[in-house]
């Protein structure tokens, strides 16, 4: 009984349990105390000091993870002193956290587009999802993919490698966006339920369109008022078509109007649009008016004819639909920005003889995109750098005649950081020119202000000193509370992506306004940055990545550009986009979404530079194939070290050095793969940051993942796991606090053995072998063939094999298929083939796993638990570490991998004879528990008689123990232990040895006792299901004898048949050996791939007439089949498994099936084809049909002593005869 005590916790009286820590108490009372070094799975350690709290009467703050509560304690968990301490701890940790939370690309993007995330999705061909991710912050990816100025690429770290070519981020974005636009499953944003609020957006440029997108998504009705006849703003009227085709622009506009946004054209505020009307009809407004006024050169004579602001020149052509005719003319473009580029390249396309760009600095200082400069040169534009126009000279008619310029030189850097141009005296020269296009700036037109402001009293929309709209820089709210502003109208002429970024902020604020919330900018998330420590240089990256030059964008041939066709042609295949995606260096942290350090640093406003000083820099350790160690991110909480010691028992990790130089490393500084590491990945699961992560083979993003909860389908423990996936691609597996693994621990199989789920080489359609090659056929055809094959032979010429990985439902249907379809009892599994029937009772009366911790001693007899059933191994090791429970190993393998995790070990030659000798000794010396036997067991006397006839000395000799005393001591000690558990594995123990273990448990009176008795471990997730679902010639559902009358009656009634097979051929092994079978049906097993003796299995399969295999992949067995059926993954149907302790575990369907018909539907279809009366059933329906055949109860049935005269055959297949196990076992072996 736990003792209750009273505690004051944050000014409330709560009930505490004596012995618990403050952290545990707080958790129970839903108070979250941050901690980095605590994990409930391991003992408290106390190193991070993030979890400190104040306890009245205690000096200093107390770490809550290791401070136990006591009666009357008064605890405060969150006052200013505590917050300060936590923040300082975080500041200190961050001062030595040389790592990036996100890549420089995302940091550089004004809109914060998750570049690394969408590259990861492009890598997997998830283009719609990539666009969805981009559109979280940028609603115009196809446009951006063409005309963005790409600060992301400028900051990309690939620039430090590969000859300064950053990753082709924009090219990939364009590819994904174009793909999405044409795709049937085009991304459509989810729109929230209508709020009934209305917003007017002024201007349909990028800012206005984006604001409309974000606000409409929030459930508001957005109407856009646009002065021009078409949408797009400068995207349409400024950017020429050869860069951004109008129809493409229109598609993205349409995407937004399809959301319900209305655009009213030719409505100009203060002109033909009264603000009073807006105010009357709308709850809020967003001004996205842009900068509409072009400026001239500002020198003498710039009023001459044929001198235009560049943007008017561009706009004029778009409005009129006619191109200027510059044939034979000389055109000067003044300026060095992107508008200048648009002007000069357009001028060329308008037929100009010569085009000069006049720029007062050098090419290096030009703000235009380098790619634009490059293309313009290809198109024949000439550059006059370090040149400044001084005067425009007119002819008599007032037309421009020439331009007088001055040569310049560069001086000291100015406020912008660029070197200031200084005129060179006397360097004047004249240039003959016919047209001048001034691309040197734009201004915002605010002539509507009066019209607007007169509608408000006490509030006023103002302009700032540059003449732009004045808005709060963080919220973009204007002087009028209901009006927000975004884009060039606020910032002055800027870039597309900046306008989008502003639209996001303004609409966020506007949304808050509409919902009546306080208007606050989004909370700034903490981001750790390597740049906070030092500037990144090529040496930091060289040698760590393979060189891969950029896949450049194909362009129109320069000789072919005297038109307005789009110059950049886009990546022409998915392969190119995916190939370019490989260049991403994944600078951002894989644990971005899950890192506790980041979470708390954001919460406590921690600062990385507060205590900056010397920092430790480490190389990331990729030597282990599944686990990577990045010490730069480590906070030295030692959770990895401790879980490896306390739970796994491998002790593969440790601390090296002392003080500030301390770091975590595999033992002896080796590669983790050269330590006793068991590759379970528990270190990954416990790491609070990204210091120990999965070494994945694909681009993990990171992206936000969905979780599909299911049951592991490797071994028979039955762990609850979550597949973390995006679309249908599983990126990670995590443990849940399940029924069996209630602390969420997992082993290597589920943790790293998930790649098969992503394998695109899966079989999806039936395959018929024709002339030695497989051809796809229809399911109908496949069923016809199967039915014909079955009908053409005697019922017992057929045999049905069933894999131990199948769900109970599938197993039930296979045995029904045999018994009611083919009318034969020939249904079995390769898994248990020819291994006797001693395993049938193994799972009866097992000690539940959770009682392991209460045992006095645990014996491992033939159980390499850390390899095959590791989670059970964790429970045992944890019991040893925590509760000092001694473990004894009895093994035939002198190099057993369990050797270093046990207290004692006996090495023997035969488990069977060892146990038998023990039984003999106990009975011969009258040590049997007579009372227990009398009450609970049958057939003891017979057993005793037979055993005592054997020769003890001979048994001892056969067991292979070194001394006879080993057996006697074991027998006595086991018998005398109050709570002793024997753990054994069917993989190592023969079925007759299982019988004898069962006998031993009965002799000593330990069977079925609390924390005492047997724990059997099976090889596959549903090995037990085979017995329970009647996958055995002699047994029906519920392990009932198949020829039992009551069962037969039930089956006949349930299956609407009078005709059930009357004979039982016990040994399918013999039938296979004799070659008397005609048709073999194999559901989910790979006997060829897993055989210890392949020749033997090949013989069986080749001698029969027809082999049908159902599987996920073309296994070695499937390749030998005549007909292959595709199998569905369990996660595609749902169902039940029965674990080794006979716990029935249900799992749900989460994924859409990749096969047209799931496995169990195929089985039902075949049954129908064979004349069985089947209704179309759900998976639950199948289960309830199976359940109805179960016996009423087993109460009062006694345990039976089974005498065995000698040892019998052990398994003839590896990997539980399952392809998935085999695949991972082999992958694992090859990885090291």
């Amino acid at each position: 009984m736990s003792e209750k005590i009273n505690i004051r916790l944050d000014d409330k009286t709560v009930e505490g349990i004596r012995g618990e820590t403050i952290l545990e108490l707080a958790k129970r009372n839903n108070i979250e105390i941050p901690t980095l070094c605590n994990d409930p799975r391991i003992e408290p350690y106390t190193s991070c000091f993030i979890c400190v709290v104040e306890v009245e009467g205690f000096r200093g703050l107390q770490p809550s993870c290791s401070t136990k509560i006591s009666e009357g304690m008064t605890i405060h968990t969150n006052n200013e002193r505590i917050k300060k301490a936590r923040k300082t701890a975080l500041d200190l940790l961050l001062s030595n956290h040389y790592a990036d939370c996100v890549g420089p690309c995302k940091q550089a993007c004004p809109a914060g587009v998750d570049v690394q995330g969408y590259i990861s999705l492009i890598d997997k061909g998830m283009y719609n999802e990539a666009v969805a991710l981009i559109k979280e912050t940028n609603p115009l990816p196809a446009i951006c993919g063409r005309v963005c100025v790409r600060p992301c690429e400028a900051d990309c770290r690939r620039n430090l490698l590969d000859e300064e070519t950053g990753v082709g981020i924009d090219y990939m974005k364009r590819f994904a966006a174009d793909y999405d636009l044409e795709s049937e499953s085009k991304f459509k944003p989810q729109i929230k339920d209508s709020t009934g609020k209305k917003v007017a957006v002024i201007g349909a440029g990028p800012g206005g369109l984006s604001a409309a997108f974000f606000l409409q998504k929030e459930g508001h009705q957005v109407d856009i008022y646009e002065a021009a006849p078409k949408a797009g703003g400068w995207l349409r009227y400024g950017i020429p078509e050869y860069r951004l085709p109008n129809d493409l622009l229109q598609k993205e506009v349409d995407n937004i109007t399809e959301m319900g946004v209305n655009i009213f054209f030719n409505k100009k505020l203060g002109d033909n649009l009264e603000f009073a009307d807006i105010k009357a009809d709308y709850d809020a407004g967003i001004l996205a008016i842009g900068s509409q006024i072009g400026t001239l050169i500002g020198c003498e004579g710039d009023d001459a004819e044929n001198v235009h602001p560049g943007i008017y020149f561009l706009k004029e052509m778009e409005v009129s639909g006619k191109h200027y005719d510059f044939k034979g003319k000389r055109v000067a473009v003044i300026g060095g920005g992107n508008t200048a580029m648009d002007c000069c390249r357009t001028a060329k396309r308008c037929g100009a003889e010569e085009v000069f760009v006049i720029y007062r600095r050098t090419e290096k200082e030009m703000p235009a995109n380098p790619i634009e400069i490059h293309e313009s040169k290809l198109e024949g534009v000439e550059y006059m750098f370090l040149t400044n126009p001084r005067k425009v000279n007119k002819d008599e008619e007032g037309k421009v005649k020439s331009i007088s310029c001055l040569k310049m030189k560069l001086g000291e850097p100015d406020a912008s950081g660029r070197r200031r141009p200084i005129p060179i005296d006397g360097s004047d020269f004249d240039l003959q020119i016919d047209f001048i296009l001034a691309a040197i700036g734009q201004k915002t037109n605010v002539n509507f202000l009066k019209n607007l402001n007169k509608n408000y009293s006490g509030e006023e929309l103002k302009t700032n000193r540059w003449g732009d709209i004045d808005a709060n820089s963080e919220t973009l709210q204007t002087g009028i509370k209901s009006i927000f502003a975004a884009g060039d109208g606020v910032t002055g002429p800027a870039t597309l992506i900046e306008a989008i970024a502003q639209a996001k902020i303004a609409s966020n604020s506007c949304n808050q306004f509409l919902l009546g919330q306080e208007i606050v900018p989004p909370k700034k998330e903490f981001l750790s940055k390597k740049d906070n420590f030092k500037k990144q240089v090529p040496e930091d990256y060289l040698g760590h990545f393979e060189k891969q030059m950029r896949d450049e964008m194909p362009t129109l041939d320069p000789s072919n550009r005297s038109n307005f066709e789009e110059v950049e042609l886009g990546y022409n295949s998915e392969d190119v986009a995916k190939h370019e995606a490989q260049r991403c260096l994944e600078c951002g942290c894989n644990e971005y979404f899950t890192c506790d350090l980041k979470k708390y640093s954001t919460e406590y406003n921690a600062e990385q530079n507060k205590f900056s000083g010397e920092f430790n820099e480490y190389q990331v350790d990729f030597r282990h194939p599944y686990i990577e160690i990045d010490n730069n991110k480590c906070v030295l909480c030692s959770r990895c070290i401790r879980i490896c010691h306390e739970v796994v028992g491998a002790n593969a990790l440790g601390l090296v050095n002392r003080g500030y130089e301390t770091y975590v490393a595999p033992s002896f500084g080796n590669s983790l793969s050269d330590t006793p590491c068991e590759s379970c990945g528990l270190c990954i699961s416990t790491c609070p940051t990204g210091a120990i992560t999965e070494n994945v083979i694909f681009k993990p993003g990171p992206v936000k993942l969905n979780q599909a909860e299911t049951i592991c389908n490797y071994c028979s423990i039955g762990c609850d796991i979550s597949l973390n996936y995006k679309k249908d691609f599983v990126m990670k597996v995590t443990g849940n606090e399940g029924l069996i693994n209630n602390d969420g621990n997992l082993c290597k199989y589920p943790k790293f053995g998930y790649h098969y789920l992503n394998d695109v080489s899966r079989i999806t359609k039936p395959l018929l072998k024709v002339n030695g090659r497989f051809e796809e056929i229809s399911f109908k055809k496949a069923y016809e063939i199967i039915a014909e094959k079955i009908k053409n032979v005697e019922p017992d010429d057929n045999v049905f094999f069933t894999g131990a990985r199948l769900s109970n439902e599938e197993m039930y249907l296979v045995q029904k298929l045999a018994r009611n379809g083919a009318k034969t009892n020939n249904v079995t599994s390769f898994h248990y083939l020819n291994r006797g029937n001693g395993y049938i009772g193994n799972s009866i009366e097992n000690v539940p796993f959770e009682q392991i911790k209460d045992a006095n001693k645990i014996y491992l007899i033939g159980a390499e638990i850390n390899k095959d059933n590791a989670v059970a191994g964790f429970m045992i090791n944890n019991a040893r570490q925590k509760n000092n429970i001694p473990i004894e190993l009895i093994s035939t393998d002198k190099n057993s991998s369990m050797k270093h995790k046990v207290d004692e070990a006996i090495f023997i030659k035969s488990y069977y004879y060892f146990i038998k000798a023990v039984n003999y000794y106990l009975i011969a010396n009258h040590f049997e528990n007579a009372l227990f036997i009398k009450d609970n067991c049958s057939d003891f006397e017979e057993y005793k008689k037979k055993v005592l006839k054997e020769n003890f000395v001979e048994l001892v000799k056969l067991s292979g123990v070194k001394y006879m005393d080993n057996i006697i001591e074991f027998a006595k000690e086991f018998n005398n232990q109050m709570n002793a558990i024997i753990v054994f594995s069917e993989k190592e123990i023969s079925s007759n040895a299982s019988f004898e273990l069962f006998n031993l448990a009965m002799i000593t009176g330990k069977l079925g006792k609390t924390s005492s008795g047997l724990i059997s471990l099976k090889e596959k997730n549903n090995s037990q299901g085979l017995f329970d679902m009647g996958i055995c010639p002699t047994l029906g559902v519920g392990s009932q004898a198949i020829l039992d009358k009551p069962l037969q009656r039930k089956m006949k009634k349930l299956w609407h048949t009078r005709n059930l097979p009357k004979t039982v051929n016990v040994s399918q092994y013999e039938s296979l050996e004799k070659g008397i079978l005609k048709n073999i049906f194999i559901f989910g097993e790979d006997p060829m791939g897993c055989a210890l003796n392949k020749v033997q299995v090949a013989g069986w399969l080749s001698i029969v007439d027809y082999v049908v295999v159902q599987d996920y992949f073309l296994t070695e067995t499937a390749q030998m089949a005549d007909l292959v059926l595709p199998a569905s993954f369990p996660i595609e149907t749902g169902g039940n498994y029965t674990n080794t302790q006979r716990v029935i575990q249900k799992f749900e369907k989460h994924f859409d099936k990749k096969v047209k018909k799931s496995s169990y539907k195929q089985m039902i279809d075949i049954l129908k084809k064979l004349g069985s009366r089947e209704e179309s059933k759900s998976i639950e329906g199948v289960m309830s049909e199976a359940m109805s055949l179960l016996p009423i109860n087993n109460i009062g049935k006694k345990f039976k002593f089974n005498y065995t005269s000698n040892n019998n055959n052990n398994r003839i297949f590896n990997h539980g005869c399952d392809y998935i196990n085999k695949r991972f076992d082999e992958e694992f072996e090859q990885a090291f």
Binding site: T46, F49, P63, A89, G659, E661
Partner: protein
Amino acid sequence: MENTKVIVGLGTCGIAAGANKVFNQLKLVKETENLDFKLKKTSCIGMCYREPLVEVIDKSGSYFYGNVDEKKAKEIIEEHIKKAKPIKDYVVYTDLFDTPEDDFVQGQVKITLRDCGYIDPESIEEYEERKGYRAMKKIAGQRISRLDVIQTILKSGLRGRGGGGFPTGLKWKFANDNKSDEKFIICNADEGDPGAFMDRSVLEGDPHAVIEGMIIGAYAIEATSGVIYCRAEYPLAIKRLNIAIRQAREKGYLGKNILGLNGFNLDLYIKEGAGAFVCGEETALIASIEGERGMPRKRPPFPAASGLWKKPTNINNVETFANIPWIILNGAEEYAKYGTEKSKGTKVFALAGKIKRSGLVEVPMGMSIRDVIFKLGGGIKDGKKFKAVQMGGPSGGCIPEHLADTIVDYDSVNATGAIMGSGGMVVMDETTCMIDIAKFFLDFTQKESCGKCTFCRIGTKRMLEILTRITEGKGEEDDIEKLEELSYQIKDNSLCGLGQTAPNPVLTTIRYFRDEYEAHIFDKKCPAKVCKALLTYEVDPEKCTGCTVCAKNCPSNAIDGARKETHFIRQEDCINCGMCYTKCKFDAINIS
């Protein structure tokens, strides 16, 4: 002559000063001339500054000769031993006439060090002669109960001499209250404070006193075995401890049914520590004995409840144990006569730094620091001005001159911001830069941090960086505040004493010498003229003789000047190394 005893001090301090040579010389003369005086060894008597020390005891009394070398040794034999004429000039202390070290000796009360320098530490008989093992025999003979032993210690007022000052009797009581089939008693001999050597001297000079103390402690708490955790850098102590343990076993002080006490079994083992400072912390010490990385853990549970191998464990330091036999033998009241109300008995201090008499002293609690330094220690070397004394090592702090009248007891010293600690007293004069001192101690703790707690691991590193920056003239305006803020946070949020006290040297120097910090930060000056980066070296034209020595020795060739002409230091090339200052024979280099 046959009754004359010549005793050579062969502690580590003596050996370092050349005592082995003196001993060998004496032995050689004695053997070659076949003289029949008794030549014996002992350990340090505390007068380390006078080593090698040779004591001659003849009919008239005892004479301590100081700074003895081979030549003097010969003279002593010739004059004193052969002719019975003590060489008064060489005698540093005797009861018979006034000597220079009278103050040093007469101000002391020796309880802990009662045998040090008087007995051969490798002889159990000599220890027994000076009442050794009588305390244990008293317990056995009078059948004094365990509780009575604990009561005596409680009454004596003895507090832990390792620095914590926790009442020893109470500690024993807790360990006794926790019942278990197995208990441990541990002697913490991991003395690690820079400048402290009290424990080493006791272990080298009187190992049996510590062993007897442990036996009594084991008896009191029912410990079944004991461990002496001693740093491997103390080879002589370990050697003598091993000898002593062997002798104690042979004599039946260790083993089964000790001194006829049925069921009282005890054996002792030595665990050599690798010299990690943090292993002086009891939980880290226990982890180290268990073979784990020496890192502390959260207390409670205290070792008295769950210590070594999770069994009840009592840990005391060397000095504490050495006091025990004396208390049992002489009674709690006798012990409590010395000291103040809350700090009873005596305390051993290691005097070091800029003090005339550096060595070991044992004084009754309550003596003023000024008396310790000036009366016993003889004041400051070279006629310089006393500035401060650092007490408690890296965990302690600096007590400034104006607080020198503070008395030595736990609470008075704590009130200054320093701690009593294990007894290191580092004396500083006007040429000591207090920031440099703070930096020195912080550098020590920072390097000795085990790396577990965030604040200690990173916080002390950052503090050290700030201090370094200040001494390099790169101090920033808010550095003092930053240091204080970090200090309080580190003290508040560290698991063990190392982290909890590491900022003390910084805090006390800021408290008492803030102006010095400000001079470094704002004026870019080091008033003590220690921080090289803040100094400018200039040639005094008055004094310069043009000897060229400075120019020749300047590593950066920053000194110009022809022979016999005034030299000149080019400041732009000067690297502030101070070589010119060191080399100038005419005091012609001015530092400012």
